[in-house]
């Protein structure tokens, strides 16, 4: 366990004492990692497999996507919108909206507001939507409830402080789809540019959130849109709302997308530091690095290295540079989470805990693996969900 508490490494890969993948920059600290005879990690192989399966960036991949797009249009005839696109103000979702309009779709933009948005995010959303004349549906959680849930996760000492946002987003996308009788949700995830986040420090499900909140929360959950297992099954098996990820089929470059967005509608890049949402910012630039001696920049960096956009040395060096912290971010976070300086330091110093120490649906997901395999084959759940949640976790405790 002591290995896991290593802080930033020397910025030269050769000098590192850790085993690092020979192809990307994931090192042995990544949960669930193992290396083949050539030193290549299983996550690289996972991405390769997905690329082969989805024919990413090939003519066939494009044609598969086209088939799906035609189905979307067909199913959407006579309805106000034919697809849902979750928006955050970030690169992927903003670009996805432009593509959707280009493809002739009639999207409804959907946003879950955890009340920690920065002006950049809100303005980006506004600019993109008004340029494209796309309507917006939002669900805003009560700000005090939002704080209470984050606070609960902070006191629980786990890494997934953003679990409530991620899950709520998923639930709100489904609710919007249900309200307008839309059967397709388009998501901007790309395993090529981001990889599949290892489950180790990024688990979220409704039971996990509920149990952490009931142990450490102080306010009733009322406005927070909790996705229980029952709701999850309802959305996937009964409402049959499909999740489509166009960037799994197409070539996609985040850099090109950003340039395009800046040109077309004065969209602003918030930097790779998640400044679009202050809770994300806190998580990625302070909480994870300081408490877990890690952060999730390695996901994007590893992906860039895999694609040859960065050398391994460059990726490793950047990963081991301390992240930029927005001034006053910590004060803002403490204020909203109602933490004194002492409380904050005390809790940060406590040993980190893991999601598997709390009640979750994980066993249930594993038990129902055949069902989810079927659902993944028909895009009713994303394939990445199946890979992450339904396969038994290789515990490296």
């Amino acid at each position: 366990m002591t290995d896991k508490n290593l802080a930033l490494q020397a910025s030269s890969i050769k000098m590192s004492k850790l085993t690092v993948c020979s192809r990307c920059i994931y090192d042995e600290r990544v949960d669930g990692i193992f290396f083949d005879m050539d030193g290549i990690c299983n996550f690289c192989h996972q991405v390769d497999t997905l690329i082969a399966e989805y024919r990413t960036g090939t003519v066939e991949g494009e044609s598969r996507l086209e088939t799906i797009l035609n189905q979307i249009k067909l199913k959407g005839k006579g309805k106000k919108y034919d697809c849902i696109i979750g928006v955050s103000g970030g690169t992927d979702s903003s670009y996805m909206l432009f593509l959707a309009k280009k493809w002739g779709l009639r999207p409804l933009a959907v946003h879950y507001d955890n009340t920690w948005n920065s002006a950049i995010a809100t303005e980006n959303i506004r600019k993109v939507l008004s340029t494209l004349d796309v309507d917006l549906y939002t669900h805003v959680v009560d700000n005090k409830e939002s704080e209470d849930i984050f606070r609960a996760f902070f006191f629980a000492g786990v890494a997934e402080m953003e679990a409530s946002t991620d899950l709520a987003f998923a639930e709100v996308l489904y609710r919007a789809a249900w309200k307008y009788n839309v059967k397709y949700v388009l998501e901007g995830h790309s395993f090529v540019t981001e990889g599949i986040t290892p489950i180790g420090r990024n688990y979220f499900d409704g039971r996990y959130i509920k149990s952490v909140h009931s142990l450490f929360g102080r306010r009733r959950m009322q406005s927070y849109p909790l996705m229980t297992f029952g709701r999850f099954l309802f959305w996937t098996c009964f409402a049959r709302i499909r999740k489509i990820r166009p960037f799994w089929y197409l070539d996609y470059s985040k850099e090109d997308a950003r340039e395009f967005l800046q040109d077309r509608c004065d969209w602003v890049y918030y930097g790779g530091h998640h400044l679009e949402n202050r809770m994300s910012s806190f998580l990625h630039s302070i909480y994870l690095p300081q408490k877990f001696s890690t952060d999730m920049r390695n996901n994007t960096l590893a992906a860039l290295v895999r694609n040859g956009l960065l050398t391994r040395e460059e990726g490793w060096e950047e990963y081991n540079t301390p992240p930029l912290v927005e001034e006053a971010l910590l004060e803002y976070t403490k204020k909203r989470l109602d933490l004194t300086d002492e409380e904050y330091l005390r809790v940060m110093a406590l040993p980190p805990r893991s999601w598997w120490e709390f009640p979750t649906y994980k066993k249930l997901f594993e038990l129902l693996r055949p069902l989810f395999q079927l659902l993944a084959a028909t895009d009713l759940v994303p394939k990445s969900f199946y890979i992450k949640y339904c396969l038994p976790k290789k515990n490296k405790k």
Binding site: H111, R126, T138, D142
Partner: protein, 255 residues
């Protein structure tokens, strides 16, 4: 010449920001401090915060929340909601607000206006007048978050407030609030033409043209926006924003 002010008015309910329709049903908008940060970035002229439960519940202003809000704000701010005494007003000023808006309490105690404006200046003392039509179609002042009807005529009441030392009037047409259907220019012009102090018109603005009308036909010195600054568009999702300043200037330039 002072630019015509366009002022986002944000409603506080407990510790959340909400938006109502005709002073009734409300939707969650978000966190007040976070919204202020966004308005800072958008460089709006001024913000007004109104606590919609303070008078109905008879509670004190939430000074802690107001302090948190003031810490984030680099533009002038006004506060209204439950202010009954000069001491309370003093507390609000020392937290960092420029103005207080008096509403329910002054109907029975108009001297409060004089007390506060003598001590802090008329420019810091504003009066908030909520107006609804009664069954005869006459404009009447309502108080306590729209829950209590009075027999007061808004024009007479506005003049009285001016006499007592108010520096400004926030005039809200309750029947238009949250409807996006346009402002009540009749009401606005009746009151604006009766007083010499600035009148901020509120209630019903749904687009930039409505803002222009409120100023031109209504004669208001400023316009307060509610729904327009917290929703993407009518009937759609929450999105804190401010109308395009260039478009506003063009519209105001017409009048």
């Amino acid at each position: 010449m002072v630019r015509t002010r366009i002022i986002p008015t944000l409603l506080l309910r407990n510790e959340s920001l909400v938006k109502t329709v005709k002073f009734g049903k409300f939707s969650y908008i978000g966190d007040p401090c976070n919204a202020v940060r966004i308005f800072n970035e958008l460089e709006v002229d001024e913000l007004v915060f109104l606590d919609i439960l303070a008078s109905p519940r008879g509670t004190e202003p939430n000074y802690k929340l107001l302090r948190d809000i003031a810490d984030e704000c680099f533009m002038p701010m006004g506060y209204g909601g439950g202010i009954k005494t000069a001491e309370q007003a003093h507390k609000i000023f020392s937290i960092g607000f420029e103005k207080v808006f008096l509403n329910t309490s002054i109907v029975n105690n108009p001297n409060l206006i004089e007390q506060i404006s003598t001590a802090y200046g008329s420019q810091a003392t504003a009066v908030s007048i909520d107006v609804k039509k009664n069954i005869f179609g006459n404009y009447k002042v309502v108080t306590c978050g729209g829950r209590k009807r009075t027999a007061l005529d808004p024009v007479i009441w506005a003049k009285e407030a001016e006499k007592m030392g108010a520096g400004e009037i926030l005039l809200t047409a309750v029947d238009c609030e949250g409807t996006w259907q346009g402002m009540d220019c009749d009401l606005i012009s009746k009151v604006s033409s009766a007083v010499n102090i600035p009148v901020i018109a509120q209630g019903g603005a749904g687009n930039i043209g409505d803002i222009g009308e409120g100023i031109d036909r209504g004669g208001a010195s400023a316009v307060a926006l509610g729904s327009m600054v917290v929703f993407q568009k009518q009937g759609m999702g929450v999105l804190v924003n401010f109308p395009d300043k260039k478009l506003i200037e063009v519209e105001l330039g017409k009048h």
